[in-house]
Amino acid sequence: MGQTERLDEEFAAKLKRYRLNRDEHKRICGLIGREPQGVEWALFSALWSEHCSYKSSRVHLKNLYNTSPRVLQAFGENAGVVDLGDGERVAFKIESHNHPSYIEPYQGAATGVGGILRDIFTMGARPIASANYLCFGRPEAERMEKLVDGVVRGIGGYGNAVGVPTVTGQTEFHESYDRNILVNAMAVGLFRPGEKVFLSKAKGPGNLVVYAGAKTGRDGVHGASMASESFGKDSAAKRPTVQIGDPFFEKLLIESCLEVMAEDLVVAIQDMGAAGLTSSSFEMASKGGVGFVMHLDRVPLRDSTLTPEDILLSESQERMLMVVEPSKLQRVQEVFARWGLEAVAIGEVIPDRKMKLYWHGQLLTEIDPDLLTEHAPKYERPFEVWSPRSRVPQAQVAVPIEASIAERELERVLTSPQGCSREFIYRQYDAHVGAATVADCEDSVGVLRLKDSGRGLGVVLGCRPQVMRQDARDGGFDAIAYPALELAAKGFEPLAVTDCLNFGNPERVEVMSSFVAALDGMNELCRILETPIISGNVSFYNETEGRNITSTPSTGLVGLRPDVLKVPKSAFSSSGREVFLLRLPQLMSGGAYRELRGQEPACAGQLAARPFAGFLRALTQVARDEKVLATRVVGKFGLAYALAKMVSRSRVGVRIGRGGFEAARHTLAAGALFHEVFYEVILETSASPSEFRSLVMRQLAAHSPVDLFEMVHLGKTEGSALLIEGLLNVEAHKLEAWSQAGWTNAFENLKLPQSYGEA
C-alpha cells in the first residue's frame, strides 16, 4: 500500500468515526479556510449530525404553520410556549428517544423523560404533566417483551420519582417496529401568573458561563451522532453511547433552577441535551450573537481521565448551562448548594462571535459558533409528489363477515395486541402526583386543573400508524384531526401542537416522500384550525438492516376548557341515558380490522380540513353542555370496539336496535361493526332525544354547513351488556376479560394481578 492510499484510508476512517461525509468535510474546510483540527472534528460531528442540525428536514420544517395570537415562543427555543390568558402560560414539547431505548430500554426511556422535562423547566415552567407515545414490534419479536418491560419501567422509574404525573399515553404494535421501537416523551410545564419565561439567548459580555447540576461522565459520548445512524447488526455494541439518568438529581435540579429563576438570578439558560456542552454553549452564543471563553478543565468531572473531546460530547444527564451576572454568582451557588448541587463558573461571555475553548490554559480552538449552528448543510433530499393511496370502491372497504361470527371477531379484536388493554402500562405510572389530575390514562384525554384560574388543560397524543400505512398524507392529517377531536369531545379547544417526526432513512425516496406528504397533511389542517405547531423534533434513520419503520409523525396537543367540573367521561355513566352518534363522514376505511385480518389497506373518500374545523368547533361546544355525560371518538376497529370500551370499563351496558345500527352504518351487514369512518363521536346524554337534537343543531348551525353532518340516535344505555340487535350480545365483564387476556397472551411475564389475598 502506498503512502497516498494509506493517508486516504486514515482520512476515510476519520470521516467514519466522526460520521461526516466528504462533501461535508469540504464544506467545513471552506467555512474555516483550513483543515479542521483536534476537537473541531468532534464539534462539527455533533452539531452537524442529523439529530442536532435537522439537515434533511429543515427545508420542509420552515413551511410549518407556527404562529397564532396565543403563541409566545415557537421553534428555536427549548420548547414552545402558549398563552392561556389570565396570566397562565404553558410550555410543551415532545421528543424521541428511539435509538437509545432499543439499545438499553430502561435507561433509554428514563433519560427520554428526563431530557424532555429539562426542556420545559429550563424555560422557567414547572413541569405539570408527562405523556408517552410508544411503538413496539410484534410481541413475539426478539427481545420485545424485555423492551416493553424496560421502557415502561424506565418511564415510571424516572417520572414517578421526579414527581411529574403521567396523564396520558398511546401504545402501538406493528412488525415494522420489530427492530426499531419508538419512545416519544412529551412534557407540559406551567407558568403561573407573574412567572417569567427564560430563554437560551446569551447576553452581556463579562457575564459568567455557569455549569450546574450533575458532574460530567463518559456516558452518551457521541450519542447525537449515534441517533443519526441506521442500526446494523452491532447495535448492542452501542450501549456505552446510551446516557444514564438519575431522577433524584433531576428533582433537585428542577427545584434549584426554578428557585434561581424565581429570584431572577439568570440571564439565559439551556439544558445540556443531545451533544451536551457543545450544543448548549454553541447555540446559546450563536443565538445571542456573542462568543464564549470556556475552560473545559473547570467542568466538574465524574471521571478524571476524560479528554476535552469527551467533555464536549458527553451526554451525561441532569446538567444545565447558564449565563449569570458576576454579582449574582454567589447567590446562585448558595441556592444550588442548598439542594446539594454544584454551580461552577467555567467561562465568560465575550463580545466577538468566537468560541474560545481552553484546556489547562491552552487554546484548543477559536471558532465562530454560527458556522456550526447556522451553516450546517441543508439537504434537499429527493421525494415524489404524493397521490392518494389504498383507494378502492366504497363497497369493498369493509371486510365482509357473517353475522354468526361477529362475537368471535369482537373477541379477536379485543384480544389482539392492537386492541387489548394497556392497563399493565399505565398502572405503573404515577398519574396523580401534583394533585391537579382530573382525568388520567383511563380516559382518552389527560386533564389537569390549572390552580389559579380553575380552568382545565387537556393533553392528548396523536398519530395512528395504521392510517400512515394506508396513506401518509391522510395519516398526517389524522395525526392532528384525531387527537383534536378527542379534545373537542371533552369540551377542550385545541390550542397548539408539538410533533415528533419518526421516519426511516431520509436518503430513500419513499421515506422522504412520506415525510413531505405527512407534513403537508398536518400543516394543512393546523392552518385551518389555527392550531400552530410550536415545538418538536425529527428522528430519521429509524432503519435496521435496511428495513424502515412505518412513518410515524406522533403529535401532542393541548387544549383549554373553562372548567373541570363536568368533563365527559370516556365510558357510559348510568342506565337509561340516550346514546347518539355524531358524524362527519369523509373517509371510510377498512382500518385496523383489515390489517388484523392480514389484508391490504383499503379506503374510500377524502379528508377535507374546512368541514372538519366546523365539526370540531361545534363538538367542543356540545361537549361542554352538562347534559353530555360521556363521549368517545370512534377510532380503530370501528363502532363495535368503541362501544365495547365504553361498556367494559364502567359495566354499564348499551342496547342498539337494528334501526340505530342501520342509520349509523347504512347497512345491517356484520362487517360494518368494524370498519372505520373518519370522523365520528359517540355521546351519552341525560337530555331527551329531542332536547339533545336541538342542542346539537344549534351548535352545528353556528359553526358549519349543517348538511355535511349526520346525527344518529343509536340507542340507550341499559343492563350490563353490549347489545347490537342481531349481531352482538356480550356481557361487560366478558369484554373486560378479553381485553385483559389480550395483554397477558401477548406478554406472559408482564402481569399485574388485580389484588393479593390477606397475606
Binding site: 414527581g163 405503573q428 405510572y429 396523580h432 402526583v433 382530573v438 373541570v564 367540573l565 393479593y756
Partner: protein
C-alpha cells in the same frame, strides 16, 4: 389557626400538594427543612409528605430517617403531637422506629397507581378520628414499596393495641393483613400508604381524603 409543619427532604415530591391540602383543611401549613432542627413545641401537628426522599437510595425512607430534622420530629412525637406520614412519609416513620413494621417492595415488584378502597379499623389516631370503625374511604395509592410487613408477634401486638388504623378492602400490594396504615402505641403518630391529599375535591374523583386530614375544621 392550627399550625402544621410540613417536612421537606431532598426528593420529597408531594410536599406542595400536602401543603395546599392542609390550607384547604383550614390550618396554616409551615415548611420545615430536613437539614434544620425546629421547635417541637411550636406545632399543633406535623406531616411528612410522600415522594422519593434521597432518591429511595439504600431503602425507601432509610436516609431521611437519619436527617437532622428527625430529631425534632422525635421530640414532638414524645410530646404527643399528632404526626402523620403519607407514603414515603410513612416509610420514613417506620425506618426511624416511630412506627412499627417495614414497607417492602410490592408483591408483583412493580409501582402501582390506582384508586383503592380503605376500611377504618383502629380508633386511636387523631387523624380521621370522627370516622366510625368500619367506615369505607376511596383514596389513590401510588407506590412501589408499599407492602407492609410485620412478624406474627408484632401483628398480634398491633391488633391487641388497636394500632391497625386502615386496611385495604382489596389488597393491592401484598401487605400483611392488608394493612394500609398503622399508629404507634400512643396513637399520636400515624402512617398510611394512600394519598389523602389526592382525594380532596370532587374534580379529583373523590373527597374522602378530607376525612383523614380533618384535624382542623
Amino acid at each position: 389557626m392550627a399550625r402544621v409543619g410540613v417536612l421537606r427532604f431532598p426528593g420529597t415530591n408531594c410536599d406542595r400538594d400536602v401543603f395546599e391540602a392542609i390550607g384547604h383543611a383550614g390550618a396554616e401549613a409551615i415548611w420545615l427543612w430536613h437539614a434544620d432542627l425546629f421547635d417541637a413545641k411550636a406545632f399543633d401537628a406535623l406531616v411528612l409528605p410522600g415522594g422519593f426522599s434521597y432518591g429511595d437510595y439504600l431503602r425507601s425512607g432509610a436516609l431521611a430517617a437519619r436527617a437532622v430534622a428527625m430529631k425534632s420530629v422525635r421530640e414532638a412525637a414524645d410530646r404527643g403531637t399528632p404526626i402523620l406520614g403519607i407514603c414515603n412519609g410513612f416509610q420514613i416513620l417506620c425506618e426511624s422506629g416511630l412506627l412499627p413494621g417495614a414497607l417492602t417492595r410490592n408483591a408483583g415488584l412493580r409501582f402501582r397507581d390506582q384508586w383503592v378502597e380503605l376500611e377504618k379499623v383502629g380508633s386511636q389516631s387523631p387523624f380521621g378520628a370522627r370516622l366510625s370503625s368500619g367506615a369505607r374511604l376511596r383514596v389513590p395509592i401510588a407506590h412501589a414499596d408499599g407492602r407492609y410487613m410485620v412478624n406474627d408477634e408484632t401483628l398480634k401486638a398491633l391488633q391487641d393495641g388497636q394500632q391497625i388504623w386502615l386496611r385495604y378492602t382489596e389488597n393491592p400490594n401484598g401487605s400483611r393483613h392488608a394493612i394500609a396504615g398503622v399508629t404507634n402505641r400512643k396513637g399520636n403518630v400515624a402512617g398510611l400508604m394512600p394519598h389523602p391529599e389526592r382525594a380532596f375535591h370532587a374534580w379529583m374523583g373523590g373527597e374522602d381524603g378530607r376525612k383523614i386530614l380533618d384535624l382542623w375544621d
